[in-house]
Subunit: 422 residues, 2 copies
């Protein structure tokens, strides 16, 4: 099955927005075993839109269109497709009801152009829009399948998931088995290092397939298989998951698509454990990452951003002798990382205390190089561990990597605690 | 001038990465007065790449290619273009020297396939790669201009800025005047509200042109003009800038493309002022934003993330009577925002103290609705101001908007202080 994606919108051609829809759709189609050969972006222009449609129709089995379903005269996607297929347009009653109700509920008079959002193509299947007003469409003609989706990602993604994907599985991929996937998440290891550990599995892959993605200091491994039933798929995926896990059991923190901070927050909340953090060069990023997870209020007690030496003394009670003087190790040191982690834990009376101190750059501090970072992990009744990191990258990257490295160490500790408990 | 952008790379068609290059190039071309009619993505496949090239050549004056310049057999862009144009390939000596030096410096043996990165097309202009190894190319044939750029944005952007853009101005846009732009930055006002205030200016625009973009709680207005000289352009741009500023002088915080936290850090560092922050629902985002700016170490003294009531008492000395009890206003209140801002300022002995307390959701707190946030701004010798916000969106959006609203209030205060001083 060959597919093409056409995104419609002058705002894309002006560079006002980035085409994340193409990425989302490409990834979803790849996971369904459908090959995407081209992605095209075309403006809100009838002639050029029809030219793009004609070309894609001549080459692909499936053409997915996004954007151009709004209420204005610029929104031409359905008109262009109907014209190409020689079909008429009509108002979809259900979509129109939804639009009218939307304006009624808000006590606002509906302008006439909103009717355009309810337009459907003769003989096609309207795809209801659960999160917006413009109805989508799915239609087959001359062996080519067309799917029309709205432009805003918050409308496109649910419509693809709930309407278009089932339609494709039912009407287009009938001879093919459905695809099932699992996402395995890794931290504490880079993409290329993980790729190397899995290289024989990746080379010999046929079904299930294996794909790696790296983002924000984490690596995602997506494994997919075609199967007649979910239970059959899960047997195969679980078996491959175990083979992958064996290659780096100390790095795989989840078998679903969640960030490591979510696993940490959930695990600690479950076990009734509490946490605090004292940060220097990460400037609040550790606290921010953890508190971005809903439910963190029960386990994250407090954070201190002690950027200056004076604040390290005042807020986290770091002894002057560690910070300044000829023989002092200085703020960026193993000793200060340890004291920050232990003291923030004691001050907040929490089970765990985290710390980061380092040089995020640009520019040196205490004659220490950019990228030198110490992370500390203190735990009630256990010896404090401190790790030295030598990180590459700009200020933002160094802060992010230091944060992820610290969260990884905390996760490791929780895992080993858990196995001791068990 | 009509342009098309072709991005080459199977990783784009698999959805592993998003095509930010197309956005960057589209925006840059638009600013130069060049219309982009199509963006295309094609995989690492010689036949389909040549088909895409042929089609773009037949329609456009300028074809910009990105990606496919690496060392592997998959990297086909220059081969495809040379084949289409019936030109030979050769090794560019300067690029080859650079590659050899790169490996020598690292004491690593260069594998033979790295020579591919130095390939240039006969009769074209090699575009040096300042941040990577693969050389770019610019070439004109049969009235169409081709520019070949590397895929990684950190190589593509500098090569476009320093090599491709000057080449286009000198060889292609010779009859046209160069374009000059300014970026005006706004905070504290939404994109649609600003759009409305500027609507007559936008409607009547010819030259200079006006374009609005919104991102992360800030709005950017780009104004551009064609002019024979920079000084002539600046006269026109400064005049339009003044007309735009007049429509919302209290919202425009910069006439260059910087985030508001950068303006705050620079202004405070200049004036020798210091700052601290006590955060609840933003969980460290205020501290993280400010400390993301290089040089913030001199003005940002410390931050406290007091997520729980106990920590508000312990770390920021908030009276129990404000937090709990039948008559207590509770943690999410005007009173607590005020106390947090004042106390963190006193604890750290800084000139300004910031605070945020609110409900970021999901789920209610103290029977208060999601999105209710109080922000506080305390200043040495001045009355503390507190603002109530009622924010829409998910947890992430509410945290971001609360942070930006607080930074906006701080910037306003700095502006009024500055004018009092002056």
């Amino acid at each position: 099955m060959k597919a093409e994606i056409i995104a419609v919108g002058t705002e894309l051609l002006l560079g006002q927005i980035v085409n994340t829809n193409a990425q989302y759709l490409s990834r979803e189609l790849a996971a369904m075993g459908i090959d995407v050969y081209y992605q095209t972006v075309v403006g809100d222009n009838m002639e050029r839109l029809k030219e793009a449609l004609r070309l894609s129709s001549s080459r692909a089995d499936i053409v997915i269109l996004s954007g151009g379903l709004g209420p204005t005269q610029d929104d031409l996607t359905k008109d262009a497709l109907a014209s190409l297929l020689n079909r008429s347009l009509h108002i979809d009653r259900m979509a129109m009801d939804r639009i009218e109700r939307f304006f009624q509920d808000r006590g606002v008079v509906m302008t006439e152009n909103n009717r355009r959002q309810a337009i459907a193509i003769e003989g096609g299947t309207p795809l209801p829009n659960e999160t917006g007003l413009a109805v989508g469409n799915a239609i087959t003609q001359d062996g080519t399948h067309y799917i029309v989706l709205p432009g805003p990602p918050k409308e496109l993604i649910p419509m693809f998931e709930q309407q278009a994907k089932p339609w494709l599985l039912q009407h287009v991929l009938t001879d093919e088995l459905p695809i099932y996937s699992k996402m395995l998440k890794f931290a504490g290891i880079g993409e290329s290092a993980l790729d190397e550990r899995l290289s024989d599995l990746i080379t010999e892959q046929t079904d299930p397939t294996i794909a790696l993605y790296a983002k924000d200091g984490e690596v995602t491994v997506r494994i997919s298989t075609k199967a007649a039933s979910e239970s059959e798929a899960m047997v195969r995926l679980d078996e491959l998951q175990e083979r992958i896990r064996e290659r780096g059991p100390e790095f795989m923190y989840a078998s679903e698509d969640v960030p490591i901070e979510k696993v940490i927050v959930d695990t600690m909340a479950d076990r009734g454990l509490t946490l605090s953090a004292a940060e220097s060069c990460t400037g609040g990023l550790v606290a921010e990452s953890l508190t971005s997870v809903p439910g963190s209020a029960t386990m994250f007690l407090g954070g201190i951003v002690s950027y200056t030496n004076e604040m390290k003394r005042k807020l986290v009670h770091i002894p002057q002798a560690l910070l300044e003087g000829d023989d002092a190790p200085g703020a960026v040191s193993r000793e200060v990382a340890q004291a920050l982690a232990e003291n923030v834990r004691l001050i907040t009376d929490s089970d765990f205390g985290l710390s980061v101190t380092g040089v995020a750059g640009p520019g040196y501090a205490e004659r220490k190089p950019v990228g030198l970072v110490y992370i500390g992990l203190s735990q009630r009744g256990r010896e404090t561990e401190v790790h030295e990191l030598n990180l590459q990258g700009n200020r933002e990257t160094i802060r992010l990597r230091a944060t992820k490295a610290l969260l990884y160490r905390l996760w490791r500790r929780l895992v080993s605690e858990g196995s001791e408990q068990a």
